[in-house]
Amino acid sequence: MSVPEVVMLATGVVGGAAALLVVTSRNVVHSALYLVVALLAVAGVFLVLGAEFVAWAQVLVYVGAVVVLLLFGLMLTRAPIGPTGQGNELGKAMPLAVALAVFAGLVALIVTSYGGEVIALEHVPPAALGEVLYVAWALPFMTLGFLLTLALIGAVVIARREEGEGPLPEPDPDEPEAAEASPPDSSSWPQRQPEPTPDEREVSA
C-alpha cells in the first residue's frame, strides 16, 4: 500500500470508530466530542483525496461552528454532568436498522457509480474549485445560497415572533443624559420593573 492509502485507511478507521462512539456513548457531551473526532477524520479523508479546500471548510464549518452550536445547546439543556439515563426507549434495533440501510445504500451508490475505477489522487487548487463552483455550477450554487438565505430569514422571523423571557430592554443611548445642573424632576423617575418589549429581544444564533 502507498502512503496515501495507509493514511486514508487510518483516518477512515478513526472516523468510523469515533462515529460508533458517537451513537453508543452514554454521555451526550461525550458523543458530541466524539463527533468532533469523526468530523476531523472526515476532513483528513478529504485532505488525502486532495480536496484541501473542502477539508478546511469541513473543519471551519462543522468542527468550528456546528459542533460548537451543538455543545452550546447541550450545555443549555443538559447542564449537569454525568450519563444521561436511557433517553428515548424506542429500542436500539430501529436506529441500527436505519443506519445500516443508509450505509448499504451509500455503498451501493458508490460501487455502481465508480465500480473498480481507480481515481488518480491529485491536488485540487482552490482556484480550480472556484472555477467549477462559480462557472460550471453557478446556477445550482446560487440557488442553494438563495434557499439557505430564505431559511435563515425564516428562522429569524420565527424566533422573533416567539414571546418569552429575554434580557431587559436596552436603555436608549440617544436618550438625553440627565444634565448636571438640571433640578430633580420627579416625572423622570424610572419604572420599577421595565417590561421587555418583543422588538428589543435579542436575535442570536
Partner: protein, 237 residues
C-alpha cells in the same frame, strides 16, 4: 435600536488618557529598594522608655486587646536617714504585636511618658512567637523614635508641654542672669477663643444674613486678617 458600538469620542478619550499615562513616569514606589519616608506620628511600633516606667499598669489595663504583659516586683530602697521605701521594679514588659491593633491607647494613657510610637515597621517574623517583643527589644526601638513634629499654624500646644517649656525656659533664664526682662512665651498665638471681625459681623447682620452664617464669615475674615498680620510681621524681621 442603535448598538453602542461605533467607537465614539468617549472611547478615544479613554484611550488618550491611558496612552498619556503610559508616557508619563510611573508612581510605583520601589519599596524594598527605596524605603518610604514616614511621618513622625506613624504608628509603626511601640517603644518603651524603661527608665520612665513606674509599673502603674495603666497601659496594660487600657489596652483593648490585652496584649501588654507586665511583671513586677517590689524592692526596698534604703533611704539615708529615713525610713526605707519600697519601689516597683519592672521585671518584664512585653507587647505582643501579633495581637496589638495599633490603636495607640497605651502610648496615650501612659502618665510618665514611658511609651512612644516609632515609625519603624519592618519587624515581620516567620514565627508568631517572635512578634512578642520583650522590654529589651522595646527599649531598642526607643532609638528610632523621632521628635514630635512642630504643630500647624494656629495650634495651641498641650498645656503640660507648654508648662514644661515654660519651666525649662524659666530655669535657663535664672541660670544665665536675672537682669534681662525678656518677654515670655514668644511662640504662642495671641488669640485663644474664636475671635471675629466685629465690623463685618455687624454689617452682615444688618444686611439680614443669619447670625450663625454671619459669625462664620466674620470669623473667616478675622482669621485671614490675622494670618496676613503674622506674615507681615514675619517679613519685617
Amino acid at each position: 435600536m442603535a448598538a453602542p458600538s461605533l467607537p465614539g469620542s468617549g472611547l478615544l478619550k479613554g484611550l488618550g488618557l491611558t496612552f498619556k499615562t503610559m508616557l508619563s513616569p510611573a508612581t510605583t514606589a520601589q519599596y524594598p529598594h527605596v524605603k518610604p519616608e514616614l511621618p513622625p506620628r506613624t504608628r509603626g511600633v511601640i517603644a518603651l522608655m524603661e527608665e520612665n516606667c513606674t509599673v502603674c499598669m495603666l497601659c496594660a489595663k487600657e489596652c483593648p486587646d490585652w496584649c501588654i504583659y507586665i511583671d513586677s516586683s517590689k524592692e526596698t530602697v534604703p533611704v539615708e536617714g529615713g525610713r526605707t521605701r519600697t519601689r516597683n521594679v519592672l521585671d518584664r514588659f512585653a507587647i505582643d504585636f501579633a495581637l496589638c491593633m495599633y490603636c495607640g491607647i497605651c502610648v496615650e494613657v501612659c502618665p510618665f511618658d514611658a511609651l512612644f510610637w516609632s515609625p519603624e515597621f519592618e519587624y515581620a517574623e516567620y514565627d508568631i512567637r517572635e512578634l512578642t517583643h520583650e522590654k529589651e527589644r522595646l527599649r531598642e526601638w526607643m532609638d528610632t523614635v523621632p521628635p514630635p513634629p512642630p504643630l500647624e499654624e494656629g495650634a495651641v500646644p498641650p498645656a503640660e508641654i507648654e508648662a514644661g517649656i515654660a519651666a525649662a525656659r524659666k530655669e535657663a533664664e535664672e541660670a544665665v542672669a536675672k537682669a534681662k526682662a525678656a518677654a515670655e512665651g514668644g511662640g504662642e498665638p495671641e488669640a485663644e477663643g474664636p475671635q471675629i471681625d466685629e465690623e463685618l459681623f455687624a454689617r452682615l447682620v444688618a444686611e439680614g444674613t443669619p447670625e450663625r452664617a454671619a459669625r462664620a464669615k466674620a470669623k473667616a475674615a478675622f482669621v485671614k486678617a490675622q494670618k496676613r498680620r503674622e506674615r507681615e510681621q514675619g517679613g519685617d524681621q
